[in-house]
């Protein structure tokens, strides 16, 4: 969602469009290759790093078998992302140089993250990528050409659309209503707590409170931006809300998986908890992946993407209506008219791609013989899952490299305390709902 005016750009110049094109293209290509019996190229580019302990030769032996895969993987994504980058008007030369370095770093991070010793320290690849990025990004001034390759949103959206292929639509249909119910309970309560703390306890402006509440309850930075726009909040209010989200999102990436493991939570409910209590998509995927279990990533996606992200447009419409009536002391007859198109304008469009890939793969598998379906799941979906893992590694590295704490908007203690009160309600409430109230549903997600 980069740039000032995504919804005023033509569809082909939007980041969401390119995330869908790249990921959907990959899913269609892999499916066609499977049926054509020419999976070799895709299998080769789906490079996964073997686990190792003291003996690096295990890794080098693994690479020597498929060294071309690393180049094909790089070549494919460089080409796909660069075409999108060109149409979207990025500096393509800089993007190519930046992505190349990002890719090389991601290979080294993935090798390190596969080390048994590092894994025992609970430093899975996502956390490692984030830590390395944060360390370098906050101590070294990165060259501009490298910065051009750090496109967190571009990579995470591509990863989420790929995620759709590995999450059967039947599961979305079964668990979706519970995800929506749990997300609604948490979002409404957290939003209300932050809003009332900000306005009643600290006397902050309603629009400021709405941005803080949205950031802490709906879907992080995207919500702060969407709700800030819907209620015409000042730029500084949105910036402060974003800073809050980033600070807490980074803290939660480390804390939530650690707590979930210490509390011996099952992977399903843990992912649902992260989906309920993390603030941003990219940060949430880092935390869910850090659990080291695919079920966490699935339940996280159900909670975050299906339960929370999808409804930001509805929240925007409600807040927009409140802002021109209650907050301006006007009746609906005399207030400015609010267009219902607000729901669609603020809707995160990449979610459409997520649903399309999910439905496509689900229908495809349903039409296959069981034996073929099993082979498809192993070969085609296995490759998609590995490629999805790489897009998330680039995401986590980009988060680390671009999150510069000294560049966050400075904020006073009032918004910080109001937001923190919301966090203190959201986290235990999310745990209770995920691990007690709806635990059976989250345990059933395989």
């Amino acid at each position: 969602m980069a740039g000032a005016t995504q919804s005023t750009l033509p569809w082909y110049q939007r980041e969401d469009t390119w995330a869908i094109i790249i990921a959907l293209g990959l899913v269609l290509g892999i499916s066609a290759a499977f049926f054509g019996g020419v999976m070799g190229l895709f299998k080769s580019m789906a490079v996964s790093i073997p686990g190792w302990s003291n003996d690096v030769s295990k890794v080098t032996a693994g690479f020597s078998k498929n060294i071309s895969g690393l180049f094909i993987l790089f070549g494919f994504f460089l080409m796909a992302f660069s075409i999108g980058a060109r149409v979207m008007g990025y500096n393509v030369k800089h993007f190519i140089a930046g992505f190349t370095v990002l890719y090389i770093v991601s290979v080294f991070i993935s090798i390190l993250g596969s080390n048994q010793f590092i894994k025992e320290w609970q430093l899975e690849t996502p956390l490692l990528a984030l830590m390395v990025g944060l360390l370098i990004g906050n101590t070294v001034t990165l060259p501009r050409w490298f910065q051009a390759g750090l496109r967190t949103e571009y990579y995470v959206k591509t990863g989420i659309v790929l995620m759709g292929a590995t999450l059967p639509f039947t599961i979305i249909m079964q668990a979706g209503p519970f995800a929506i119910l749990q997300a609604t309970i948490v979002s409404v309560i957290t939003f209300a707590v932050i809003y009332f703390a900000a306005t009643r306890l600290f006397g902050l402006d309603e629009r400021f409170a709405a941005c803080l509440g949205a950031g802490g309850s709906i879907c992080g930075v995207s919500a702060a931006i969407a709700i800030g726009g819907a209620c015409r909040a000042k730029k500084e209010y949105v910036s402060v809300a974003i800073s809050m989200v980033i600070v807490w999102a980074v803290v939660m990436i480390f804390i939530l998986p650690l707590w979930a493991k210490q509390l011996a939570m099952d992977a399903g409910p843990a992912g649902a908890w992260i989906g309920t209590s993390e603030f941003a998509d990219a940060a949430g995927f880092a935390a869910a992946e850090a659990m080291g279990d695919e079920r966490s990533v699935k339940t996280f996606t159900l909670m975050k993407v299906v339960g929370r992200d999808m409804f930001v447009g509805v929240w925007a419409l409600v807040v927009a209506f409140l802002s021109v009536t209650a907050w301006e002391n006007k009746s609906s007859a005399t207030s400015e008219r609010i267009d219902k198109g607000e729901i669609w304008r603020r809707f995160p469009k990449f979610i459409i791609g997520f649903f399309i890939t999910s439905i496509f793969i689900t229908v495809l598998i349903a039409m296959m013989e069981p034996k073929t379906a099993s082979a498809f799941s192993k070969d085609a979906l296995g490759s998609i899952k590995t490629l999805r893992g790489w897009t998330f590694t680039w995401t986590f590295l980009s988060i680390g490299f671009t999150t510069r704490f000294r560049e966050l908007t400075s904020f006073g203690w009032k918004p910080l305390v109001a937001f923190t009160i919301g966090v203190l309600i959201n986290v235990p409430l999310g745990y209770w709902l995920s691990n007690v109230v709806f635990v059976d549903y989250w345990l059933n997600i395989k």
């Binding site: 015409r232 730029k235 400015e336 267009d339 671009t402």
Partner: protein, 114 residues
């Protein structure tokens, strides 16, 4: 807050103006088989009044650096500088009413914001 704060977003304030309002109060002349001279005259006056108001708003917004475009029957007045609520207050202070315009504000992440 103000200057102390580094902005983490860009923005576009869009004021949406509709030169021909719906429903037209004098549109019966379009609906009836019978032509009605009085209704046509009324429609003309209404249209004149409305377009004059829209033109006045455009002149005011022009002084604040807004640029205009026309799409699908709507006039869009865009500014990446003036904030939305400030623009609204400006129009209200100058004698316009809430229902004479619509405001769409879009924020976008600056580079590097998660």
């Amino acid at each position: 807050m103000g200057e102390l704060h580094k902005s983490m977003v860009d923005h576009l304030t869009r004021i949406i103006l509709k030169p021909v309002e719906e429903p037209l109060r004098c549109q019966q002349f379009l609906m009836n088989d019978m032509a009605d001279a009085q209704a046509v005259r009324c429609f003309g006056l209404q249209l004149q009044r409305r377009t004059k108001r829209v033109a006045l708003m455009m002149e005011l917004l022009l002084t604040k650096g807004f640029v205009f475009s026309f799409q699908k029957g709507y006039i869009f007045a865009d500014s990446p500088v003036m904030e939305a609520q400030e623009a609204k207050e400006y129009l209200l202070e100058n004698g316009f009413f809430d229902q004479e315009f619509q405001i769409f504000l879009e924020y976008g992440r600056k580079w590097g914001v998660m």
